[in-house]
Amino acid sequence: MTGVDDPVIDPVIKKQQQWSQFAERTRRLLKEGRNALRGLSRAELVGLIDDYQRIIADLARARSMGAPRQTVDLLNRLAVMGHNLLYGYARPVHARGDGWLIHFARTVRKYGSAMGLSCLMLFGPMVISYLAVQWYPSLGFDLVPEGFYAFDPASSENLHDIPSLTRPMVSSSIITNNIQVTLMAFGLGLTAGIGTTAVLVFNGIHIGTVAGWMAVQGKSKALWGWILPHGSTELLAIAIAGGAGYLLAGAMVMPGLQRRSVALRAIGKDAMTIELGVMGMLVIAGLIEGFVSPSALPFEARLGVLGASILLWAAFFGGMGRKAGGETSLPRE
């Protein structure tokens, strides 16, 4: 209290004021939200940055010269507040300007073994349970969920059973349900792939037994004409999402010469790209399911939709964005 008139103490008071003013302004702007900086004039913004840099400099000096802990802590908090306020989002740099679709197809193609494993885990149990129900139809009573015993989407009164007016609802709930399944298959990859495998195998068994049950009851036509036109796209989407899950699992189980979190982060970008693409696929499938499958289209046209979608996806994942020389070929001499 004695030093207020003392000229030596003056810069100290000034410094103290600088800090508390910076804290006050930063706190207010941070509370205002993301557009707070846009409301500032040029001079204000430049002033704020100058103040931030002074704080940063004070912090650096205080750290290296061993200032008291409280001082370093105070300056650190001020600097973190300033940092959070002033720094912007660093946009990821895209190496190539290719469109998103090409990027998606390429990324899926890049991880053939993960995709293969996922297909095996989904389609393997599916085929086995389909055949099992064919050979031992009594199994159907154990495996087929009760609601599906009389599942007969294509019977005369059932073919157009979804009134056209409720189709938006059916479409919407099917899309969301499927996306949920793929998010499970994808996210549970982080359980070293156990969760992904469970999702794939259970879905495979479920679909296989219901399909087998329908075949046993002589409703193959319904299977091919009603379920598979959209089901093919959905199954493929789930298998690809499972592949993305296995990518995450691979990073956890076999991170190589890096930390697991680092490996996870490295593969995470590609896995995320795949999952986002899968969601897009499911929206397409859901629209087919909500609007094409319950329509009055003849059986042959439905088979046409089925064939067309299979061809489309084969072409998309097989050839989209593939370069003339081949992506994985060795450098040519």
Binding site: V12, V80, H83, T176, G268, A271
Partner: protein
Amino acid sequence: MSERATITTADHVTLELELAGVPQRLMAWLFDTLMLVLLFLLLVFLFLGLGGGITFGLDLEAGVEELMSSVGVAILVAFYFVLTWGYGVLFEGLSRGQTPGKRLMGLRVVRQDGLPIGFREAAMRNLVRAADMLPPPTYALGALVLNFDPQHRRLGDMMAGTLVVRERFELEFGSQLGAAWAVRLEQGQSRQALSLPGGALTAQQLELIEQYLSRRTELTEQRREALARRLGEPLLTLMGREANRRNSTDFYEALMAEVLGMAESASSAKSVSGKRVDGLF
């Protein structure tokens, strides 16, 4: 003291980020969940209210009702899904890493290099919740991983390369000690060791004395007396003076001020002589 992560800013200064632990994150999550439920209820009531009102100019009475309910339910289903999965992605992507709950709790998601996150990171950390949530909806796995990770990340954070940090607005400006330090450092003067008749005082010891003097009024009477004695008695020996058990707190504090004054004048003398040396070369 909370756990910290160290980042280096673009100005090459080290910043310590205080990491959020399970309790703060749990509170933020609870608040966000409450928000979600309220948002969804609001939407349901909105649709129930609108269902009767809007007819889109169609006259098919029964059909319109069915259409409304169907489209309405379709939108509700889609909205429910987008809300539950997209809440975190949207809020964290849009408002620099803060959902309303995190904002309330003073938390923020940042990238591991300390920069703000964008939609990519927000999507990555939020869309793999299925694993962190195991067994749903307990978040037990996420909490377990978080506890073992030195940077307090759940699995989603590891994948996205993000940290959840605390943003502290409570700052202690009480004493001028810090500012005094900063000014001194700014002027290029740092504490030097001080040699006294009975031995030397290191820069840290001088620092300790200065800290004591600047904060002495904040201490309780007993604490102040005990500290003054502990710091002051060795000083007496160093100064070559007689120790006396009856010395008062005031006496020791005056002694400390005297020593600090000596250190002040010694270091300014040194910097003057330093200048002279510079001039010679």
